[in-house]
Symmetry: C2
Subunit: 375 residues, 2 copies
């Protein structure tokens, strides 16, 4: 018996037309070390949008065809095409992570048959995913596939932030866009591990979410005295590393500058080179795609700004650390690493224009979970 | 006998008035481990201007008094005063490095009497400098005090760049404002050590200076096809670290972006996260004080930008490496580490308004050497 199922695909052609579609594909029998998982829950993370929509102009959305064979078309502006040259003409499958039930297994993986597993590896926006058995994690007893859908990207990123801060010698952390699922996990980890965390959010509602889970430092960047509040919080906590989901504009700059001011308050001698305190800003997201602007003269010479990405971090951290992190996620899946979704949709709904527009507007607070079995 | 001599001072008062003056000060007898050096040659480096002029508005220059007691007055704009709060009211001595002749020595340093030495430690724009014997280096035979005046800041910075690149695993280097004394030293070191160097300059004259000392890669950032030339040079050399003297604007961004493009040319599979190649930009100067603008979405996630400063580097590198670097400077003082000056002036001339304006305009190519004995 050959399984077939739907799979979401994104293709950009040479003319800059991006096509989103659901293709019916044959799954193929599992190899000896492989399994086939029926996908039951897959989150839409900001990190999925890069492949899904690429640099397309969302306003250019048009539909073609109808029913199950309907496709969505977008234009990629000419000046953004160079950045995606490497994918032109390729039909790319989408979806970083998911959870589901094992419906078939190769001869070396039969112990997984019928089990619920979480998995990462791309191509998860589909009815079925054939995958190496080594790339899945059986869900703990009592956990649903919705619980297990987001057990990789956000949990490992949050743990990765804490591990990065430790390795690089920082004793407290700053986080922006901090009320996200990821941000809530980070706050819970920091509480458990006794690491001061300065949360920066953009609304009173977001601040409330964090306070309810025990956050001490929650700052609203829209407050008039935000910079003064931030400087005080940095002085109190000694935070010298920040993880920034926003990236564009001047918030990262403001954080480095406030770190320097907090450090200078503690200095007795003037130095025109600024403080001796090393300040690090890691940009891990792009909620704002505008350029990053650094008024570096206001933060001395002891500073660094860089990109932070999960997989290079895991490679650098090594197998043992990565394994410990994964185990902690399993152990605390429904507590520390619980995720919250505002809408649950079917796989075909994920190509609904209204829904696409909603999840492209990253600041809406909408958080989608795809359940392919819903349609 | 009590020696007295002139010493240049810079003071910013609470109202934001910066005063430059020459004070007559008593030198004091040397302690057991100290010597007194008659300053015979001291360079004006960009790194001296930070203390000398601070954030003052050069256009506001006014003079007060006359003759030897004349002082220069500048206004520091109100919005820049916060950055120098730590020095308000302090009369700061100026001048990072110099060379001269030892005219007195404490009982543990008598072997230095009459010797010519190079020294670093601030307060060098003066007739005499009392200093710890351990903080000077006797000049090699045949070297004049003009030869020894710049034996610390530029030589150790150039060697520090090469050492930083090696430690961080880069095989070739990019340098901006590359025709400077520092840049010429860096090119000579890279030729001797067989490290490819991509030089970026802003004029044909500057390019010529570097070609004459054997540079292979010299790019003029004003050329229309500069970015294409840069990308090719980065691909050919594999340079993934850049040291930038300019800091402001988009040149650093352009370098990181070209590094990423060069890396992507070598990739076979598309990744929306960009290349796996880690790209580092160090900003060590501020020829342009405007903000640094990073269009980071065009250079993937594997990148870092940071400040680079000599003394923190030397501390991190350790005593042994620093000692090796110093010895190399002594050994190659009149070859690799030869400095060139366009004007030689007296100590009083250094407070001449015309000269001050000339060396504040950093792009003039003027390079001053102060010889206090000239007046």
């Amino acid at each position: 018996m050959m399984l077939t199922g739907r799979e979401m695909r994104s293709t950009i052609d040479e003319d800059g037309v991006l096509t989103l579609s659901l293709e019916n594909v044959a799954i193929g029998d599992p190899g000896d070390d492989e399994i086939i998982v029926r996908v039951e829950a897959a989150p839409i993370n900001p990190s999925d949008l890069g492949l899904l929509l690429g640099p397309a102009d969302i306003a250019s959305l048009a539909t073609a065809g109808a029913g199950g064979g309907a496709t969505l078309l977008f234009n990629v502006p000419k000046d953004r095409l160079a950045g995606v040259r490497g994918r032109l003409g390729q039909s790319l499958s989408i979806g970083n992570e998911a959870a589901g039930t094992v419906v078939a297994a190769g001869k070396n993986a039969t112990e997984l048959e019928g089990k619920r597993v979480g998995m990462i590896g791309g191509g998860m926006y589909a009815d079925y995913r054939r995958i190496r058995a080594a790339d899945v994690i059986p869900l703990p007893k009592g956990a649903s596939t919705a619980d297990g859908a987001s057990m990789f990207v956000n949990p490992l990123t949050a743990l990765g932030f804490v591990e990065t801060a430790r390795r690089e010698g920082h004793k407290a952390i700053v986080h922006t866009a901090a009320a996200s699922n990821l941000g809530q996990m980070l706050q819970k980890i920091c509480l458990a591990d006794d690491i001061p965390l300065v949360n920066i959010v953009r609304s009173a509602e977001q601040a409330q979410i964090l306070r309810e889970i025990g956050a001490t430092y929650v700052l609203n960047s829209k407050d008039d005295d935000f910079i003064a509040q931030l400087t005080d919080a940095l002085q109190q906590t000694g935070a010298t590393i920040a993880f920034d989901a926003i990236g564009g504009g001047t918030l990262g700059n403001d954080i480095l500058q406030a770190m320097e001011r907090a450090a200078i308050r503690a200095m007795t001698d003037y130095s025109r080179y600024g403080s001796d305190t090393f300040k690090q800003l890691y940009i891990y997201g792009a909620l704002d795609t505008a350029p990053t602007v650094l008024n570096r003269l206001s933060f001395g010479f002891q500073w660094g700004v860089g990109g932070w990405l999960l997989f290079p971090f895991l490679r650098k951290a090594g197998k043992e650390v990565a394994e410990q992190m994964r185990q902690r996620v399993v152990d605390e899946l429904t507590t520390t690493f619980a995720s919250h979704y505002t809408r649950v949709i079917g796989l075909a709904d994920a190509l609904n224009p209204d829904i696409l527009r909603a999840y492209e507007r990253k600041a809406t607070g909408e958080k989608f979970l795809i359940k392919p079995t819903l349609g």
